[in-house]
Symmetry: C2
């Protein structure tokens, strides 16, 4: 069951440290609210623009830290792993991911914006991967 | 006067979120100990290895967040600005930076490792820049 999904928006005019704080605290609020057992995150997509990618690195640092400071374990998956797990191909479009997230969770509408659907997709990818992992472990007889 | 300099080392075998926590908390300790008015940081050097640069982005995110969570303003300078301010050329070597940091602060030995000297250099760069900024403002008569 999907309890909540969304995006954390920051003040575009604010300096980077302040925007990182907004993300860190926004995520902290979500963690406090739902007390999850794990955080699933997507690895960075290495785009053509190195500066954008590095900025994303800063952001991801703030995200991982929000988990670490609460002793919340983190599982990370590549963008292709997430897409493959949800749509069946690592090259799926954003619209396909949104469509499958809606279908898999029997939602009335696609999660919007597409970044919110990406977040849910990462969580679903973890559930799938962990489930198959359990099956594999059961199959080979490990507890 | 130089009160303290050093590097924060993390456990190489620990997962990334835990290492980010070690940096964040190590820096938090230093901030609590000295109660600085500002944090000077170097911009990221965009090296050839994009993955290393992005990893540095994560780390820098944890550093900036340590400042933001304590309402500590951050001033950032490019590696070339820092070197130029200390050595007089943006292409100075690490050894030259260490030598000038020792000389400018009248230390008995060069700060070691060189990363610690780089940290002190960023602080000195900020002091220089802020001082010249004051002079410039005074020169044009703004309060």
């Amino acid at each position: 069951m999907l309890l909540e999904c969304g995006v954390i928006r920051t003040t575009p005019s604010a300096p980077l440290p302040e925007r990182l704080r907004q993300i860190h605290e926004g995520l902290g609020d979500v963690i406090e609210r739902h007390r999850p057992q794990i955080m699933a995150v997507e690895d960075i997509f290495y785009g053509k623009n190195v500066r954008t990618t590095v900025l994303l690195g800063h952001t991801r640092g703030a995200v991982l830290l929000a988990a670490a400071l609460r002793d919340l374990p983190v599982a990370d998956y590549s963008p292709a792993e997430v897409k493959n797990s949800i749509v069946g191909t690592g090259r799926a479009t954003k619209a396909q991911v949104q469509f499958m997230v809606k279908k898999l969770l029997r939602l009335r509408a696609v999660p919007s914006p597409s970044d919110a659907a990406d977040g849910v997709a990462a969580a679903l990818c973890h559930i799938n991967t962990a489930r198959f992992g359990d099956l594999a472990r059961r199959a080979v007889g490990t507890p």
